[in-house]
Amino acid sequence: MDYKLTFKDYSKALTKGTLLGLKCKTCGNITTPPKMTCQECGGTDLEVVEVKKKGKIVTFTNVSVAPEGRQNEVPYIIVLVRLDEGPWIMGNLIDIDPASANMDLIGRDVSVGFKIFPGDKFSPGDQARPVFSFS
């Protein structure tokens, strides 16, 4: 069975400002980031759709200790965001001083952009990643 929306295609679309997902024809739910099957029901009858780039912050952390090769990025904030259409995605929150991150971030409205992670010796080249800013 062919993989309907690969990492490469998802990533490429994100760098053009489009967030893609998979709509399940069985249960109607949207899965993104993509997988072979629907995250809700395991269904395989999926269609690639454009997902609205709006959501709310569910949780966050301000990172001060980075992995090897990423020390120049700290401090940075990672958030989990619940998109208006249901799925959760992870990325960085920008446009805010990381030191000011506190519980008030939870529930804030954000919109989705992107940034490139150039990869390191363990990862295969450029990877697009979502970033979020307040909307």
């Binding site: 980031p33 200790v65 090897e68 799925p87 363990f122």
Partner: protein, 390 residues
């Protein structure tokens, strides 16, 4: 299905960076386990070895084969288990299944890791490999960052104000360090206070340095045998009576289940059902306290406390010896140390000695049933239940 007993254990000290190789560490633990069982290396029919990062820490993959040869268990089938921090628990579960099935009578199982030897930067990078490398690592996700996000979510979802939760989390680390004092194999023999935790360096908000377990080097090993074989070897066998294992998707895919890990609840149910017991039957528990908040999350999903209430239980001393359910009296990952591939076997070793009444100052008197909970990454979970067999 046949009954399966543990009849020997070996456990190196858990330490900061050591100069011993992984194979040296594991061989020391393995020979101690084999000797304690009253067996010889040639009696081992198979080796199941948990190891995650040998490839990165010392350029050694496939160490299971060399480890079997090192101890003189020549040419036995040797298999490596990789399930992040749960690696050797998965190995124990499989060893149980193979002995229970009748295929083997005697299996050597354990794990080893040299995480401290890697240094913080490379260890942080490689531990982050236990997250989704394509969809989540690009955001800079680290292992502590994952639990840091769960801590904020826990505070929000259960309505425990963050400042209050931080105090509860600090109490988890304080208790673990207090018990670590009486474990000669522990990495830390140092009491800490709540203030020490709350004044520590902020690693990834809200987790401070003493909310996090250390990077550690060490190994642990066990000998598992059939009930029939156990009768020849000991009059104090400890039986494995419940096993569970489950898996998960990437963190974001776990959505509304968070901060609970659904896989833990699936795994624990399998183990409780197989053993035919309830959480209230458990006399002591070694659970996966990689971070202070992880202890609260684990204890709730294992059925010991209500959701959102585990922190209060730690504060009231319900998790101490003499309390409702003694948790991590070995010092836990926090004070005993966390050489990831060895952790599960180490937890089982603690339960084994507790059930045999051999735990010294930290003995839980009269313990008959013990449970281990081991978490790998954001969702490989293994639950094991052990019972006193005499």
């Amino acid at each position: 299905m046949r009954k399966v007993a543990i009849v020997g254990t070996g456990h190196t000290p858990f330490t900061f960076a050591t100069e011993k190789t992984s194979i040296e560490l594991f061989s020391e633990a393995a020979m101690d386990a084999i000797n304690e069982a009253g067996l010889k290396s040639k009696d081992m029919q198979a080796l199941y070895l948990g190891n995650c990062l040998g490839d990165f820490s010392e350029g050694q993959a496939m160490m299971q084969s060399y480890a079997a040869n090192d101890i003189g268990a020549f040419h036995i089938p040797a298999t490596r288990f990789e399930g992040a921090c749960a690696s050797s628990s998965l190995a124990v579960r499989d060893a149980f299944i193979w002995v229970a099935s009748g295929f083997y009578d005697v299996v050597l199982v354990g794990g080893v890791e040299r995480a401290a030897s890697m240094g913080t930067s490379l260890a942080t990078r490689t531990f982050a490999m236990f997250t989704d490398s394509h969809y989540e690592y690009p955001a800079g996700l680290t292992f502590p960052a994952m639990f840091a996000m769960l801590a904020h979510l826990y505070s929000h979802k259960y309505g425990v104000p963050l400042e209050r939760l931080k105090e509860q989390m600090a109490q988890v680390s304080v208790q673990s360090h207090a018990y670590g004092m009486s474990n000669p194999k522990a990495q830390f023999h140092k009491e800490i206070t709540k203030e020490d935790v709350l004044n520590g360096f902020m690693v990834t908000s809200p987790l401070q340095l003493l909310d996090c377990c250390p990077f550690s080097d060490g190994a642990a090993a066990l000998v598992l045998v059939s009930e029939e074989k156990a009768k020849e070897l000991t009059d104090k066998p400890v039986f494995i009576t419940g096993i569970g294992q489950a898996s998960s998707g990437r963190l974001s895919a776990q959505k509304d289940d968070l901060p609970r890990l659904r896989a833990r609840e699936e795994s624990a149910k399998q183990a409780y059902d197989l053993a035919g017991i309830k959480p209230s039957d458990v006399d002591l528990c070694e659970l996966h306290d990689c971070f202070s908040i992880a202890s609260l999350i684990a204890a709730e999903s294992l059925g010991f406390f209500e959701f959102g209430k585990a922190g209060e239980a730690w504060e009231k001393g319900e998790t101490k010896i003499g309390g409702k359910i003694p948790i991590n009296v070995s010092g836990g990952l926090k004070a005993k140390g966390h050489p990831i591939g060895a952790t599960g076997a180490s937890q089982v070793s603690e339960i084994y000695h507790q059930l045999r009444g051999e735990a010294g100052e930290r003995q839980v008197e009269g313990a008959k049933i013990g449970l281990t909970d081991t978490l790998g990454g954001d969702g490989v979970i293994c639950t094991l239940i052990m019972e006193k067999g005499w």
